[in-house]
Symmetry: C2
Subunit: 437 residues, 2 copies
């Protein structure tokens, strides 16, 4: 892609309405544009990042055998009345009356809807255990939407729902998802900590939030720093290994505000290992048994012919929120570096362009064509602009690799730079090889 | 995937509420489930097909240089008041009042929203010509939603918007999209005809509908049958070639109801070449100049420094509707055959399973593993069921290739069948090769 043709409305000024750095950076680099309070359009750069995150989330769901489907955004109020949550949910639910005066709503979550689908189609234990997921837009009518896509009204989420015959098996499903979440955040280049959490309006008695550390986080967290040493790579997707994983994590104190008690903290964590900081919630998982299946009469026949209310869990990852969360984790001092797998481009070519001298731009175009032929997603900064301004701009865009075409270029050797590292002189073959790895 | 674990709630009975065959088949094979009037959940089988269609649509948009972005589903009424369409749009617009009593709506289309984004960010002619697109859920509050996802309320659409400096260049953008549409429908295994059409509530003076023939279609069409002989493969994405393409198509009479005049038909088409039939609209493109840019004050500076209202077009493809349209085109006499590129699975293995004899199932599992290792998306029908019932079921599921493990299986030779063709005995290498092509 040529930068001159790419639609990224870069703003030079610091947007005054943006209070946190992810919101600032997303506006400055034209990733998003607000269309109304708490509702955003995703411009090409932001869209590409979000799509890459979505696909990583999807792959890790598929890896644990979850089946993808898609529920609509607009739901009937009827199922919420069945579960008893229609009145409880309050003003955050966007309530809608259609032309026939039917009570509808824009789904803030999908426990009722998936339960309705399941009960209407599944009658036997044979399909269990089962996990479904979907990635869909949701709406919560926040009173004060703020912090850009971090706390907005229309947001993009993966949510999954597990169905089991009994609590023991349900915990195995819960463990799988716990594992998939740690894998997902690792792929995204984030270090996440699972923390015991309150279940809130979803209900139930077993719940973890997945938190990444960030000073700007909304959640206060209290943890034993040794929890960071657990490597997810040593576990496999088997019941025994995942049980071990849960045990390993649970030996370290790690809770959010709601669950915090200072005497527990001091009792369980040595002073020098105590971390009190802030974090961003990027995922939340719940086990709630028959909280929905019972009032909504969602049962299956067991092997013995007994009707059993299915035991359910639900599991959310904020896909649009993750774009901002990654920025909060990776952006500091006017420099951003996207993790490779979610970067909007694999590499950017930055030629120094002088008036009346196109030789650098010509060289850059040749490299551009060559890299594209090799299946590399490359951005060419063909804009006529002072080179130091260019570098400042690319510090914000955060594409992790740069090929700089300027005075250092000699014959077929080009300056290749990974952000935060020393640049090196390489030929195009070596560059291609590096980028393909 | 094992069929016993795949969530496709197959119904044996013909659903009485479904009046057209695509709606019937989608319910019978568990592709969708209605959640409320005109609103559907997409279950795993339907979801997979829709996702494949979406990706074909996306690739052809990218091939003509359109840039993907994503606008939200919920819009502010303000921009619709600016364009003057807020009051005109009528009851099909789902109007929403949020907790702050702001007037919002669920977007039925996005001309206003994209114009607002463009005017706020682009000030110079340099970014032109430009085409943006997005693939997003939309809502039209149909009085009588019917025919399943063919005429529903919440639906999935690709819409694109072009921006040009003048009408001549805008027509070039229009031609590109015309080309991308024909390519898209060809990839989907459909023969589409572009027909001159009325512009309706979008406005403007140049418009084509893309129609595929189907007896159950809602649109009456009148055309010269010679238009089917034009091959899209002979055109390239250059201004000259695409101009030629438009000329070639325009020499044949092809219109929908709105534009039909019987004297024109008789004057322009020989009796023996006249086709009067029904079809399904799968795409619609419009050029409408400054209809939105003028009232919404969306202008750019020309090279000469003059303010010019951008000339716009819009271009829609109904992605969710295409799932049903393909069925209408490909399904008859209780037999479906999905076009290869959108089939939910590449191939299905159908073992004859007898009580107390797992040998066929064991063979099937070995083939299954082998094909999966080769990156082939394979379904294994491991359900214990009479083989003739199995065949009936797979007639409906419509996966184009079958490997049948039964009495004909000899050593390492398996019965391989493409729907509608004679079966042949092949070894696994030959089968893998065939499927990979």
């Amino acid at each position: 892609m040529l930068l001159s043709k790419l639609f990224i409305p870069i703003t030079k000024d610091l947007p005054t309405e943006a209070k946190i750095k992810s919101h600032q950076l997303m506006l400055r680099t034209g990733m998003i544009r607000q269309s109304s309070a708490g509702i955003y359009s995703w411009l090409p750069l932001g869209f590409k990042v979000m799509k890459k995150i979505e696909n990583i989330v999807r792959n890790e769901q598929n890896n644990i055998g979850a089946q993808e489907m898609l529920m609509p955004t607009i739901q009937s109020a009827d199922i919420w009345k069945e579960s008893g949550r229609y009145d409880d949910y309050g003003e955050e639910m966007l309530r809608i009356s259609d032309r026939q005066k039917r009570e509808m709503l824009y789904g803030p979550t999908n426990e009722e809807q998936i339960t309705e689908i399941f009960r209407s189609s599944v009658k036997s234990y044979k399909l269990l255990p089962q996990i479904f997921y979907h990635i869909q837009w949701k709406f919560r009518d926040e009173l004060r939407p703020r912090f850009g896509v971090m706390r907005c009204r229309e947001f993009y989420m993966k949510d999954a729902y597990s169905f089991d015959l009994n609590e023991n098996e349900a915990v195995l499903s819960y463990n799988k998802m716990f594992f998939a979440y740690l894998k997902t955040f690792q792929k995204l280049g984030l270090k996440s900590i699972p923390m015991k959490a309150d279940t809130g309006p979803i209900g139930g008695d077993l719940s973890h939030e997945f938190i990444i550390l960030a000073d700007t986080g909304e959640s206060k967290i209290y943890t034993d720093k040794k929890i960071f040493d657990i490597s997810i790579d040593k576990y496999q997707n088997t019941d025994a290994s995942l049980k071990k994983m849960r045990t390993d994590f649970s030996q370290f104190y790690a809770v959010t505000d709601d669950k915090f008690k200072s005497e527990d903290f001091d009792k369980n964590v040595k002073k020098e290992d105590q971390i009190q900081t802030k974090g961003i919630e990027v995922g939340h998982i719940f086990y709630f048994g028959d909280k929905y299946s019972k009032p909504m009469k969602c049962s299956v026949d067991s092997k013995e012919g007994k009707k059993i209310f299915v035991k359910m869990g639900s599991y959310g990852i904020g896909v649009s929120r993750l774009v901002a969360a990654i920025i909060e984790a990776k952006y500091s001092k006017e420099k951003m570096k996207w993790p490779k797998l979610v970067s909007p481009f694999d590499v950017v070519i930055i030629p120094a362009i002088n008036k009346n001298d196109n030789s650098n731009l010509d060289k850059a175009k040749k490299i551009y064509d060559e890299l594209k032929t090799n299946g590399i997603d490359v951005l060419l900064d063909d804009v006529e602009e002072n080179i130091s301004n260019k570098f400042k701009k690319h510090d914000l865009l955060g594409i992790p690799f740069q090929i700089i075409i300027g005075s250092k270029t000699k014959n077929n050797m080009f300056e290749f730079k990974e952000i935060d590292k020393e640049s090196q002189m390489l030929d195009l073959n070596e560059i291609t090889k590096l980028l393909k790895n």
